[in-house]
């Protein structure tokens, strides 16, 4: 199976200093035109990682709750350095998939390999980061205490924690709230802290369940920028969202509908295939066609 990955890179134009975001695959050299001064240039994407390392291999994964099938025979392989987006409306089974991949939920049938180990597997755990859909942080502790706690249960030392905490606080824009009790923060701030708690231990595989809900557009763009920079370090990100527009940032998306994967591929390919201009259009097209 030939897999194409999409990387993002920000370069600044040598003449007018405009920051340009360009996309390309590992090892690819793409031609870029500066949007403000029209300068033509080339940007090369280093083959920084083995694009074909399989990180997550899902086979025939099914989960039923009583008679209801929440995830229906899912087959999916996710490679190192991808931002894989699970995209679908509420109730389509995104959270259920993530919970099974995190070994929080036993699948009814099917199997999953992560880093080549079949679940359940404890040796993987320290390399995995997980941001649940609920704001899973301690409300009666401060921002700092939460970060320090989640860092230390991953075995981080005090020195490692100190450096990483600064970076995280800056990333989620909570520097001024370090000593505040979480219960006094707004919903969006809690959400940002929750994301920081999932990333503090520098995992190499990250599951993010709806990380951008309730985050303002400016910070949302920053989030996607950060996820992009993570993939350049070889980190694999699996993300769920029901905002179709932001899935364009993903290297690959899987469209889910009623527990079934109805399409899987690069956002641009999906749009091309369905003859639409947005992923939302693609989803509606595919959902309509797949209707019984």
């Amino acid at each position: 199976m030939k897999v194409s990955l999409l990387l993002q890179k920000q370069v600044s134009c040598p003449t007018c200093k405009t920051v340009i975001t360009c996309t390309g695959s590992p090892g690819e050299i793409v031609k870029v035109t500066c949007p403000s001064c029209g300068l033509l240039g080339k940007v090369s994407f280093e083959p920084t990682f083995d694009a074909l390392t399989k990180i997550v291999e899902i086979q025939h994964l099914t989960k039923t709750f009583g008679k209801f099938t929440a995830v229906d025979d899912l087959d999916l392989t996710i490679y190192k350095g991808e931002i894989y987006g699970l995209l679908g409306p509420n109730g389509s089974g995104k959270t259920t998939i993530i919970r099974m991949l995190c070994d929080l939920l036993k699948p009814t049938s099917g199997s999953t390999k992560i880093f080549g180990h079949t679940l359940p597997c404890t040796s993987n755990k320290k390399h995995i980061g997980y941001m649940p859909q609920d704001t899973a942080i301690y409300l009666d502790n401060t921002v700092h205490e939460n970060l320090a706690f989640f860092g230390s249960i991953y075995g981080m030392t005090r020195e490692q924690l100190e450096a990483k905490e600064q970076e995280m606080l800056k990333f989620v824009n909570l520097q001024d709230w370090r000593s505040s009790l979480v219960s006094t923060l707004s919903g969006g701030m809690k959400h940002r802290l929750s994301l920081a708690c999932a990333l503090i231990h520098e995992p190499s595989l990250v599951f993010l369940d709806e990380p951008t809900v309730g985050v303002d557009p400016e910070l949302r763009a920053a989030f996607w920028g950060y996820f992009g920079s993570m993939t350049q370090k070889g980190i694999t990100v699996i993300i769920t969202t029901h905002y179709m527009d932001e899935a364009d940032h993903c290297s690959r998306v899987g469209l889910l509908r009623q527990g079934r994967l109805i399409a899987d591929g690069r956002p641009s390919d999906l749009k091309k295939r369905t003859g639409t201009t947005s992923l939302e259009g693609a989803f509606l097209f595919l959902a309509g066609r797949k209707k019984p």
Partner: protein, 390 residues
């Protein structure tokens, strides 16, 4: 199990208590209030019980008896000897009226000395067999057993004191006064008060309540907020979570016990004859066992509201069956076997044995063994419960 990770759990939980003043207050003030309320209501002796006194005793006149040539008014003497602190006396002349006062709830008792009281007393001691004993009528509102017991005690003591005086006055010494009461104390003593008996129980009860309730609430929140999911995805093991929290509760339990003990010693001057260290170890075992119980119960509650509904379920058996206020021997015999399955029973028993009797591990090892088993059982069951996925 890694120590660093385990301690991270304890540290976070303790920091949470530091920020959450309300819970901290519950932890420290609840047992303090209990000891204050029960200490002041039951702790001291009963005071100022209002009693109607009707003295119709005619007595015997000077010179009318060879035994007591100077005459005797026994009723008057008994009244004079009544404990003025325990009872607040109201002289009354009318028996019907005195009884009515008790009936109406304005007095706890009416003590009535009949007209021939002294006469009958004398004839009962002069005829060797004791024909008709002299009689004092006590008309009691016994709705409060503590108070009625206090009235009877006061009258009995006064009779004893009076009889002593009379024996000194009696011309003849061959007369033996039929009743002498000479209490002897195996443990404690006449100065052991209810508060001494009660304090070890309150400490055990407070530890049980606080640990169980707070654990339920902590774990209900861990589940509902999703933090537990995070912990389960992390490399931390279930036993590190459970032991981490146990260490936090050990610290809290220690603080709690020390606060209550110091308060009880300062305010009520309670006696502790045994080994404090052993008493604290028993406290820890109680805390560990009930922490496990709390984690298990938390699985049965979806939110804090539902968790609160467990409170009566935990409180009532403990108050009624574990010997907190009343000795286990005083509950109906068919209920007594139930007390064996209430862990608090062993905690209270051990604490009392240590604090009041000065017993050591040799005497209370059964209690300690049961508490250790209880802790092991609930804690390991909670590790299994946390591991369970659906």
């Amino acid at each position: 199990m890694r120590l660093r990770r385990t301690l991270a759990f304890s540290r976070r939980a303790l920091l949470q208590f530091r920020h959450d003043r309300r819970t901290l207050a519950f932890v420290l003030i609840m047992p303090l209030l209990m000891i204050l309320i029960f200490g002041y209501t039951f702790g001291g002796d009963v005071k100022n019980v209002s009693v109607e006194i009707v003295n119709q005793d005619a007595g015997i006149q000077e010179g009318s008896s060879p035994l007591l040539p100077q005459g005797l008014h026994l009723g008057e003497m008994v009244i004079k000897n009544l404990d003025e602190q325990a009872l607040s006396l109201h002289e009354n002349t009318n028996v019907t009226n005195a009884r009515q006062t008790v009936h109406d709830g304005h007095a706890w008792a009416a003590v009535i000395f009949p007209a021939n009281f002294t006469q009958e007393f004398l004839s009962s001691i002069s005829s060797q067999q004791g024909t008709i004993p002299a009689k004092i009528e006590i008309y009691l509102d016994a709705s409060n057993p503590t108070i009625s017991a206090e009235v009877i005690k006061a009258v009995t003591q006064s009779i004893q004191a009076t009889l002593k005086e009379i024996t000194a006055d009696l011309n003849k010494t061959q007369v033996e006064i039929p009743i002498t009461i000479d209490p002897s104390y195996e443990y404690g003593g006449s100065e052991t008060r209810f508060i001494d008996y009660f304090a070890p129980g309150v400490i055990s009860f407070a530890i049980m309540m606080v640990t169980t309730m707070i654990t339920i609430i902590l774990f209900v929140n861990e589940r509902r907020n999703g933090t537990l999911q995070r912990l389960l995805v992390s490399p931390a093991s279930e036993s590190e979570i459970v032991v981490g929290y146990a260490l936090a509760f050990a610290v809290i339990g220690m603080c709690q016990s020390i606060v209550v003990l110091v308060a009880a010693i300062l305010l009520f001057n309670i006696t502790i004859v045994g080994d404090i260290l052993l008493a604290l170890i028993v406290i820890l075992l109680l805390a560990f066992g009930h922490q496990g119980l709390g984690i298990l119960l938390s699985a049965g509650a979806k939110n804090e509201m539902q968790a609160v509904q467990f409170i009566p379920l935990i409180i009532f058996p403990s108050i009624l069956l574990a010997g907190l206020f009343w000795p286990i021997e005083s509950i109906p015999s068919y209920l007594q076997p139930l007390s064996y399955i209430i862990p608090l029973r062993y905690g209270i028993d051990a604490e009392r044995s240590i604090m009041l009797r000065g017993w050591g591990i040799g005497e209370i090892w059964v209690d300690i063994l049961v508490l250790i088993l209880f802790a092991l059982l609930t804690l390991s069951a909670s590790v299994v419960l946390l591991k369970k996925k659906n």
